[in-house]
Symmetry: C2
Subunit: 435 residues, 2 copies
Amino acid sequence: MERTLVIELKPGKDVLVKGWVHEIREMSKMKFIILRDVSGMVQCVLKKESKGFNEELTLESVISLKGNVKSAKLTNEKLTLKNVEIEVTELEIISKAEQLPIQVNEKTTSTDLSKRLDYRWLDLRKPEHLLVFKIWTCMEEAMREYWVKHGFIEIYTPKFMKSASESGAELFEVKYFGKKAYLAQSPQFYKQMAMAAGFERIFEIAPVFRANPSATSRHDTEFTMIDMEISFIKSEEDVMKVEEEWISYFLKKVKEEYGEEIKKTFGVDIIIPKLPFPRITMADAMKLLKEKGYKSSKGADLDAEGEKILAEIIKERYHHEFVFITEYPFSVRPFYHMKNESNNSLTKSFDLVWKGVEITTGAQREHRLNTLKEQAIEKEIDPKSIQYYLDFFRYGVPPHGGCALSPTRLLMLMLNLGNVREATFLPRDMTRLNP
Amino acid sequence: MERTLVIELKPGKDVLVKGWVHEIREMSKMKFIILRDVSGMVQCVLKKESKGFNEELTLESVISLKGNVKSAKLTNEKLTLKNVEIEVTELEIISKAEQLPIQVNEKTTSTDLSKRLDYRWLDLRKPEHLLVFKIWTCMEEAMREYWVKHGFIEIYTPKFMKSASESGAELFEVKYFGKKAYLAQSPQFYKQMAMAAGFERIFEIAPVFRANPSATSRHDTEFTMIDMEISFIKSEEDVMKVEEEWISYFLKKVKEEYGEEIKKTFGVDIIIPKLPFPRITMADAMKLLKEKGYKSSKGADLDAEGEKILAEIIKERYHHEFVFITEYPFSVRPFYHMKNESNNSLTKSFDLVWKGVEITTGAQREHRLNTLKEQAIEKEIDPKSIQYYLDFFRYGVPPHGGCALSPTRLLMLMLNLGNVREATFLPRDMTRLNP
């Protein structure tokens, strides 16, 4: 007999189901088992005469059950159960679980995160944790659908570099055949190389590595990054237009497929953002914030608190969860951001803030070799140290720009998870390298 | 005026096109330019009265042209040109190219690979090189379509590890906050963790890192890997079934979209493989090969030469480009491959050979903790050194198996490229870390 998934169970059929023992209730003449597979949970009833009734069952063991499906009206406050019940004729234990170090059938609390991560493979068995990765799969599929429809080409850039991609700080060093190599903190230089190569529109989804000694809820030493870059733009506005269209596209798809489950599980409504997203210059944002008595801890840049207050103002004014902040001062941007034609102290760059948290940095890049070299010098970067990058601009390169954002941060905000680690399969930080 | 892509040009329209100068022919009163963008090439005619006629043009400069589209019958032995011509009214140079170190409009030869890779961003401008990555994008999209249709979940596993994933050899060491970490050679252990976590069917596409001191046409120190793993299998046969269905699915999609272009550019026909693929046990393969006088340089394993001869035999017998070789001896397989129930010296594993080259290793994994531990000891691996991995098997884990294959090798074989580096955006090997 072929296995049936819980989600496919229909009354009146003889079935074979396989999965994990989520709950057990034992009585003298009956046992109730909640069986969980990747698709859902179902109540199974064993009677004394069922084969395997006397097997010693433990929570989280993997079992196989044969039986008949009956319709049943089940109400369970804790669990979402399939509205059928299996009358078991035969139970077999496939893989017996030892005493559990963390419970799978208890509600998650954020305070136990460290222990949960030690046993991440058990922690991920909780249906609401698995759901995060089902949503990621759906979200990424929708992102890619948009890109492919719009002529984007996928690239995989190298993670080994001879020198730093941006600043030398927070760089991981690798022993490389008796020499040194470094791990890419971002594919920035290489996605620009793709523009010099005439790829015109590219995306990449890949790990980035940052020797980040801080341990906030938003930072890991290794995480997945989504990068886009497009050519022949008129200004950074063209990048923002693509990004907002793309975000609204994939949010719609996620809502269609998982909207209800997200509401039920995480208590969050996905709001499809109206286009265009509100835009505000950094100067105007600072003015608004000053009126609220805000003073940034990061000088000419916004800190997390500033982004939060600004988002509240924008929400009140425009009823919008997103806001592009534009025209960042050159002093707080990397050397390769293009400067404003009309005001040399500003750049053609932007951040995107969602629900009060920055999710993107983007910009038009400086593609004119001499200006780029001057801007590097202005930032005290020795042009020789980035010569291989500067060479990309010598043989004809179109005006271009792009942006990047992290899917774990996106999911944290979308599902109100409180921590990027809840959306990371197996997080890595300063002290965490195991499992 | 909005920019028009070459592929969208239609006679009778006034257009603005942007791209690279692929060729220039200058006469006293006329200039012919072949303009290239991401979508194709078009001939453009400048007359003395065209604005910008006197601009000094260099090959590979980025230009912008305004003009009127005329139909034209063009025959060019070297180039695939759009069957229209642009009568240019205005030319503008956007980014002027210096003297080129390698030519973009000359035919590629394999002997100049090293220099081409030094200037990879110019090398990739050749339409046949760009085409490889358009095909990759299409191929990966089709792969994902198959996975999503079949309930696979996408994961991104960590690349930092505390210890080796398989053997300690060929491992890159990273300085990790005063300690040591290693770069993952494969996501093997973590995709098995996903099975222990109840994800049931997963895929991952991500870089792997191998401190490979050899420099053959098939090996880099860093490359993209495609991994799959599925649960509740009956044997390795279930893995092979999924893999062959998946391969035939994406080959079909690639052929639909790029079949003609592939034939024209690379001279290769994509043959959609019939299901099921031929299967042969290692013992039978060795028997057949002995008859041809073959002796393996790798003992009980097949070497590259053996795979090639076997593929020829299979092609003659079954008219099939693919062959699964099954039942590899445990002596040539990693400790976590499940042994055969009937013959303990063999494993429930397989390789897949396409056009004479191995593209996959796959297997049912040993999921029974005690047996797994014994098999580790048999391979002289200290169980303590992989304790974090063995722990995945303590709390209920379903029978599972999977396989992996590299997209660059796939594309090399599909397009007859002769070298994986031709399908790698920016290859890395022992000596190559720049650009």
